[in-house]
Subunit: 436 residues, 2 copies
């Protein structure tokens, strides 16, 4: 399933250089397939750098016929600079993941037009007029295709790389093929599972309102145990090839299309991490929404849609995942001869539900970790950041932290997605006491 191809050795990577406008134009002009697709004279192509992510350069190149997107990895974290080096090999893993996802979830990731491993460069179809979903959610827009598309993406990419679908030997080859992507995993391990819980230098939060809450998260040892168990699960549970960074900033949408982008954090990890990322970011969208109201209650119907969407993401995901399990279980887990006959089929069906119940618990706990890091850690999101009144922002964030703490410390009390949305709904108008 996964190519055994490994990243280039460092000696060949010496070809690497950062492509600026002219360089990039000359480079693309020499690729017949790409140049034809762009159309017209290379000198007439427009090139603009648009990357607003934390890590890479992203160029939009437009020719006479159409546009393409070109993503080039930098040897350091763009957000921070050369002081924080990051291996170019992540482009290799992103390409590997894109190819894998395109096969398993056709039409739900951008088509790759060209990949140059030495340059850490991927040329892709330009997603137009798609926008980053997070921006749409901040604007109060709804996406009718989202639930169906993202649950197809999740169910198919996770199921088809799991031990339910893939023989153990091929699964181990897949794990090995992505094992070199550990520098990206380490970012997650540090920023999500560690730093928000101690006075790490990079942490920030909406001060002074959240000072006491941030301090309480740094002192809550039950929380530290819970997040450490999650970290261990993240590091040593290769259940499936996960996207690894599946927030609403990694999804581009229109009313009729959904595309998952940026899988450079991909590796074999726990399925609940991807599912939790989606649920967490929808919860934050909902709880940030009051901060974007111009008149009281004007976003109520958008907010109701977000809650419905949270429920439908889990419900549809589980339905599709179980259906794949019923029909495409070619892996070594749950061997067919052990569940022969009618009684066996019924018992296996019950076990599928039990499996999903366990996965839901992981999802709830990972979602909690994803919420906490966005409010107390290094990388924040515009759902909250664009709320201009800092005290109002702090109120929205405090509600989210209150929920996340419950979800992480008392995960078993959230047995269903309905229990999650009910808690979210109840927090919509909860007033934190900033003076305690």
């Amino acid at each position: 399933m996964i190519s055994q191809h490994r990243p280039l050795d460092p000696s060949r990577q010496e070809q690497y250089r950062i492509l600026r406008d002219t360089d990039l134009r000359d480079y693309l002009a020499k690729l017949p397939a790409v140049a034809t697709k762009l159309g017209g004279w290379p000198t007439d192509w427009s090139i603009s750098e648009v990357g607003d992510g934390n890590l890479n350069l992203v160029f939009i190149v437009k020719g006479a016929e159409r546009g393409i997107a070109v993503k080039q990895a930098l040897p350091y974290v763009r957000l921070v600079g050369e002081s924080w080096p990051l291996p170019l090999s992540r482009s290799h893993y992103e390409h590997l993941a894109l190819v894998h996802q395109a096969r398993l979830a056709p039409g739900l990731v951008p088509a790759v037009l060209h990949h140059n491993e030495a340059l850490a460069l991927i040329a892709m179809e330009l997603l137009e007029p798609h926008i980053i979903m997070r921006k749409g959610l901040v604007a109060g827009l709804r996406y009718p295709r989202f639930v169906d598309d993202i649950t197809t993406f999740l169910a198919r990419t996770l199921f088809f790389s799991s031990d339910l679908a893939v023989p153990a030997a091929r699964k181990k080859e897949g794990i090995a093929a992505f094992s070199g992507n550990h520098a990206l995993c380490k970012i997650t391990e540090d920023l999500i599972f560690t730093e928000p819980y101690f006075p790490a230098e990079q942490n920030r939060w909406t001060s002074p309102w959240l000072d006491a809450t941030a301090a309480s998260f740094r002192e809550d040892l039950d929380l530290h145990v819970a997040v450490s168990r999650l970290k261990l699960k993240f590091m040593a549970s290769p259940e499936a090839l996960i996207h690894g960074d599946l927030h609403t900033g990694s999804i581009m949408v229109t009313e009729t299309e959904t595309k998952v982008i940026d899988p450079e954090f991909a590796f074999y990890g726990p399925m609940g991490f991807d599912l939790g990322a989606i649920i967490a970011n929808l919860i934050m969208s909902y709880l940030a929404s009051p901060g974007h109201e111009r008149s009281a209650g004007e976003r109520r119907s958008f907010e109701a849609w977000v809650l419905d969407t949270i429920e439908a993401v889990w419900t549809e995901f589980s339905r599709k995942f179980v259906e794949l399990w019923r029909t495409e279980a070619h892996g070594d887990a749950y061997p067919a001869p052990l569940f022969a006959g009618e009684a066996g089929a019924a018992r296996l069906e019950a076990e599928r539900q039990a499996y999903l119940d366990r996965l839901f618990q992981d999802t709830v706990a990972f979602a909690a970790a994803k919420i906490i890091r966005r409010i107390l850690g290094l990388a924040h999101n515009i759902d909250f950041e664009l709320i201009e009144d800092p005290k109002l922002r702090a109120v929205c964030e405090a509600r989210s932290l209150h929920l996340a703490r419950m979800m992480m410390l008392d995960t078993p009390s959230f047995r269903t997605i309905g229990a999650v949305t009910q808690a979210v709904r109840e927090l919509r108008d909860w007033q934190p006491d900033f003076d305690r």
Copy 2:
């Protein structure tokens, strides 16, 4: 920690040939270090093939000075023949594991003198006068060094390859380095976690007495779910570099020494699998013991020693593992800044106990799977096989199966090792009803 070196590609393996006496003599004579160690003229060396395992050739070579053991992998399963091919690369993984274990648990594995990957050959120190521990246990012998040595081996090899001791990047490299050993993992997946639970052709049991019990294991869907969950855990829980086949036939002993041999099944898997293997084989030794009595009760004090040993294996293992965790935790799990100060240290200490409680549950369940496969699956053990009266053998085996079924289906009721030994003791004189 683990070399990134991968097995030879198949083209270079064409050098492989099975070494018979003369070939082996010539081969060893050309290795100065080995030839010097053996001493005297090569023509005077005695060579005998002594392999009684299921997979490989094992030669004992004796020279004027001393003897060595030479193990060569065959491209098929020796027990079955050429119809069951098995990759020679297992010798590469065995060598990798031996080197790793020798560094972590000095003196507890045979010293490697020479390794030829193309020939799938490892020359080791000759363990003399050591015998296979299982043979000693059948004879009713006690091994006063065993508890201390095996718990040092387990605590150190498991701890030092886990996320508690090793940074995540190096751990992932280790996982990848062993991922190619999947053919050996598959043997375990099939023979331990699958075949005993359906009418697989290779299964055998002490018939007719165990016919009804064997049938009940093939029909018990709760057991099938439980063993399937264990199989999934075996396939996708790379907690540590485990030995992978740590029964009493993989341990050589004298009164004063313990050596763990044959780690060709090594890979990154669940720690409870190795621990369960030891506990299971001691339980079988105890429950087989009445079958080896020449007069009633003559082995009572040996049996008491076995029960004490079972308890001490877990108690000493946990003590040593926790002590390593307190002093050598250089991994990325349970980050130190999250457990600072006195309160943090106390909370982490409580979590260490909780971690070991979870590991004990895995150990109980894996032990159950190891017992069941030895009685209902392909590979049996001499603890039972050497009981001449087949009905008496069936009685001993039925007691073991009765216990194993409880341990697998009701694992949480075995909260302590004392609960396990109490159940074992109670079954010592339980009489199965073969007429039901």
